[in-house]
């Protein structure tokens, strides 16, 4: 059926590469700046040292990828820190009770997956509830179960530290978890930006109703993403154990906020439908390297968090300031 007016519509993509990467480009510059800063203020800021100290921060980045999916969907999950706590706690207890290491490791990831599935179940069966409330409830429940399992002592140590130390091994100066971050990163970034699944996330986050009418299985996609995040939380817990050799009632506290901050700083909006994981990954490394640098000059840990908090707020204000100074052309 030919168009009556014979009008032609262009299908050539604009030189959008520069525009798409502008936020990521800025982040790369910030990252370079952080490295330069680190080197100039601390003599210990060498590759080896940084990588060594990074080990305790890397596991959180696993979760950042999953949180990115959830945020692009327009949902949120503030229970991941508690999932980490629960996984770490129960795994420790199981391993101490004699469960072989491999099984315990699988158990860790399985518990995380189950927690994620619970979140997903509640989010998809009770769509009237804001996911903030649902994961607020599960946040308290998961940590509550951990507290009950830990009993009055409130903490547990991993007895066979040699087993878990396997995960802390390095290849050269790079810890195994570093490679895992890169591999996971490549996979998740590709899925989000190049697959139909990823496109669905953006669609649902931009307009849930229209996506549903267009035939997208909205609830199934959301369930999957919550489950994936839960699995990644289990993975995080496992590697966290290899760094901390134990767990207590405060394990993982605040992780959800840090992970969300990495995503938002990386350009992913909490309203959904925007941003990508490349930005999230760069932002994660910026935050981690900055923390290490400031930690090496013995800056107060809390002051470091103040700086990160300030960076987060400035990073979300920048687009607003840009809009105010250069209003876009809009058809009224």
């Amino acid at each position: 059926m030919a168009g009556k007016s014979g009008r032609e519509i262009s299908a050539t993509p604009k030189g959008g590469i520069t525009k798409i990467l502008s936020w990521e480009g800025a982040l790369i510059l910030v990252f370079i700046a952080v490295i330069i800063l680190g080197k100039s203020i601390s003599p210990n800021y060498t590759l080896n040292n940084v990588l060594r100290e990074m080990q305790k921060y890397l596991p959180e980045i696993f979760m950042m990828f999953g949180m990115g999916f959830i945020l692009v969907l327009g949902d949120i999950d503030i229970s991941v820190g508690s999932i980490v706590c629960l996984c770490a706690t129960l795994t420790c207890i199981a391993a101490n009770a004699g469960v072989p290491f491999i099984l315990a490791a699988l158990l860790c990831i399985l518990i995380g997956t189950c927690c994620g599935m619970l979140n997903g179940f509640l989010a998809t069966k009770f769509t009237e509830l804001p996911t903030m409330i649902i994961t607020l409830g599960t946040q308290i429940i998961f940590r509550g179960i951990a507290e009950m399992s830990l009993g009055s002592g409130g903490s547990v140590s991993y007895k066979n530290s040699k087993d878990i130390a396997v995960l802390a091994k390095k290849i050269g100066p790079f810890p195994i978890s570093f490679f895992l971050v890169i591999i996971l990163g490549v996979v998740m970034i590709t899925v989000l930006s190049r697959t139909t699944f990823g496109r669905k996330l953006y669609a649902i986050g931009s307009n849930k109703t229209a996506s549903y009418y267009a035939g997208i299985k909205v609830q199934r996609t959301r369930f999957l993403c919550y489950t994936i995040l839960g699995t990644l939380a289990g993975l995080c817990a496992l590697f966290l154990l290899s760094a901390l050799y134990g767990a207590n009632t405060t394990t993982g506290q605040g992780f959800e906020m840090e992970v969300i901050a990495m995503c938002v700083f990386g350009g992913i909006a909490t309203t959904g439908g925007k941003g990508n994981l490349i930005g999230g990954l760069i932002a994660a490394f910026i935050i981690v390297c900055l923390r290490i640098a400031l930690g090496q000059i013995n800056m107060n840990t809390q002051l470091i968090l103040v700086i990160i908090g300030a960076m987060l707020i400035v990073s979300v204000l920048i687009p607003q300031i840009k809009n105010a100074l250069m209003p876009k052309k809009q058809k009224v």
Partner: protein, 501 residues
């Protein structure tokens, strides 16, 4: 007679970044008259109303109220003079009561404390004036659209409005409710209130207005006496060209049955719906707002679930659990609300068009962007979308063009056999309407089955081969094109009680 003119605007120009929304327009409102403002979508009517109510300040031009020049710094200035507007999109607070909605912004306050009792009493009086059948303590969200509109009018009256502006007042009303609205307007006019209203519907204009002003492409075209201008002349003023054949219904011999509903029911919405469509047929589904037409089709297409009944496509029974099942079988729905259901406003046109088919085009889960671009370009061109590139954002298109994108999205699904169009020309200007009818005709010629859900009589009578009429969840009759008239349709669409007059 200058004293007769309560409101006058001269040489109004309003510029937004990159866009001249109003270009040197004029307008004159006489005291106690009902004045229609008409024009295509994007002609500038809404912007103009916002200038009158003080939402926007014009870059150039003068506004005179009762002969004196005025400058509005905010909406409060305009409402202080007695200018009130009732907008098309609800500006009401669903969580608050009717009284609060009426008095928001000008509550009755003594010593800092809100006088609820007095406000409730005054609200009741206002509602009584409008012959409302609901209480002031109801939550706004619990009311029907017509009732909400009544509250909005009451709100305007509560500020002792001398000028009331109605933006598409009958758009969401049934025929009965529209009649009630007409009576309210008559009454207000009798009380000396001057009224401006925007409407796409000729019936509204002929029934209510004394004069009509036409805008086109942000410009003032002219002001005419309603009883001295013909419909064709009016359309020409609005569109700038003659629309010769409004309803290009092609003559098609219908093929075999392609779509059938058998006793489809959904508790509380509709019951025992039986209808069928043959290939090449355009079948209308009409009735008053609230009759259940959209609900029937949404259940047939898997958007919602029917409790019982069967759906047949091409003779085969469909088992539909989710929307995608219906789509894969070839049953495509163009939703009623193109803004929130039909398109993703923040996406480009291309991505919108290929959304339902992205998996088909993908290779092992990876998107084929090049193929998607080519297909999107083809279908968008096929329906003659007024856009520069497939990367234009959906939100930048007018209503009519957005509807075309929705059609392109349907066409892109090669499995399509039956297409259901739910109010496709709602909020679409005259020019684009004709283009959509033309597309519909082409589809019929190509052998697709088409269901047209519509509340507009002319459209239904002009385009359909057969017309099913629904009333309160049931099909009350089926009329053939040859025998269908507006009266017969209304007869079938109205409840028994309303007919016994």
């Amino acid at each position: 007679m200058a004293e007769d003119i309560i409101l006058e605007l001269q040489g109004i120009t309003k510029i937004f970044p990159g866009v001249r929304a109003l270009n040197n327009v004029h307008f004159q409102l006489r005291r106690g008259e009902v004045h229609a403002l008409m024009g295509e979508n994007g002609a500038g009517k809404s912007t103009f109303i916002k200038v009158i109510t003080g939402v926007h300040a014009p870059e150039e031009g003068h506004i005179y109220f009762n002969g004196e020049e005025v400058h509005f710094k905010s909406t409060l200035d305009a409402s202080a003079l007695g200018i009130a507007a009732v907008y098309q999109h609800p500006t009401s607070y669903d969580d608050l009561t009717v009284t609060e909605n009426i008095f928001i912004g000008h509550e009755i306050i003594k010593n800092g404390i809100i006088q609820w009792r007095q406000m409730n009493k005054e609200a009741e009086a206002l509602l009584a004036r409008l012959h409302a059948n609901f209480k002031v303590t109801e939550e706004m969200g619990a009311l029907s659209v017509a009732q909400q509109q009544m509250v909005e009018i009451a709100k305007a009256l509560s500020t002792n409005a001398k000028i009331i502006i109605l933006d598409e007042p009958t758009a969401a009303l049934t025929a009965n409710e529209s009649e009630e609205l007409y009576q309210i307007v008559d009454q207000l006019k009798a009380e000396g209130v001057s009224i401006i209203f925007i409407s796409h519907r000729m019936e509204d204009m002929y029934r209510l207005a004394q004069r009509v002003t036409v805008f086109r492409d942000s410009q003032y075209i002219g002001t005419y006496d309603v009883d001295q201008i013909t419909e064709a002349e009016l359309i020409k003023a609005m569109v700038g060209r003659e629309i010769s054949d409004m309803f290009p219904k092609p003559e098609v011999t219908p093929g075999k049955e392609i779509f059938r509903l058998e006793n489809l029911s959904r508790t509380g919405y509709f019951k025992d719906i039986c209808m069928n469509v043959r290939a090449g047929e355009i079948v209308g589904l009409t009735g008053l707002v609230g009759a259940g037409r959209t609900e029937v089709m949404e259940a047939a297409c898997g958007i919602t679930k029917a409790n019982s009944g069967k759906v047949f496509l091409d003779g085969k029974e469909l088992r539909i659990k989710q929307p995608v099942d219906a789509m894969k079988a070839g049953l495509i729905l163009l939703p009623e609300d193109r803004r929130t259901q039909g398109l993703i406003q923040t996406w480009g046109l291309g991505r919108n068009v290929t959304l339902p088919i992205q998996e088909e085009l993908a290779h092992r889960g990876f998107n084929d962007e090049k193929e998607e671009r080519q297909l999107a370009k083809k279908y968008l061109e096929d329906v003659d979308t007024k856009a520069v590139s497939i990367f234009d954002l959906a939100s930048t298109l007018s209503g009519g063009n957005q509807q075309k994108v929705v059609v392109a999205k349907a066409l892109a699904q090669k499995s399509m056999k039956v297409v259901i169009m739910d109010e496709p020309t709602k909020g679409v200007d005259v020019g684009a309407k004709a283009e959509i009818y033309s597309i519909m005709g082409d589809l019929a010629l190509q052998g697709y089955g088409i269901v047209l859900i519509s509340s507009e009589m002319p459209e239904t009578l002009g385009m359909c081969d057969r017309i099913y009429v629904m009333c309160k969840g049931r099909i009350t009759g089926c009329l053939d094109r040859s025998e269908a008239t507006q009266e017969k349709i209304l007869e079938l669409a109205m409840e028994q009680s309303q007919k016994e007059v």
